[in-house]
Symmetry: C2
């Protein structure tokens, strides 16, 4: 039985955290460069936010990653179609 | 002077429409298979919706396209970073 499939929000959050850490950024630094609140970034990473397309672009730009590459990382998560 | 850069919502909507048409689907058919309302799909295509990650996954699944491929199409739009 596969671990409960992660929700889209949880997959997005886990990927955001992994890429942020791979770039050596803290939540504060990512939030600052994305012009978002740190607590918002934390809640996104915990999978608590149904993130919008606008913030997806803002977060990807702050991480200096193309959204298509970001979603390719999401798709590597087990249980992703 | 470049045409006003499209907003994320407008880029998403234009891409959704292009891919839907390339698959020979009407808005009704896409909305039905995505379990969304037809008027919602129309408003997304017009760039009026700040679409959420959950609906991005739902729409991509209904179009049988990976989100990463969908965003690669968005990135082909002039003025996209």
């Amino acid at each position: 039985m596969r671990k409960k499939d992660l929700s889209p929000e949880e997959k997005f959050g886990a990927t955001l955290k992994a890429i942020r850490l791979s770039k050596g950024l803290s939540q504060e630094e990512l939030a600052f460069s994305a012009n978002l609140h740190r607590t918002y970034v934390g809640s996104v990473e915990r999978g608590e936010r149904n993130v919008s397309i606008r913030n997806i672009f803002v977060l990807c730009e702050a991480l200096d990653i193309k959204p298509s590459d970001f979603f390719r990382e999401i798709e590597k998560i087990k249980g992703s179609k």
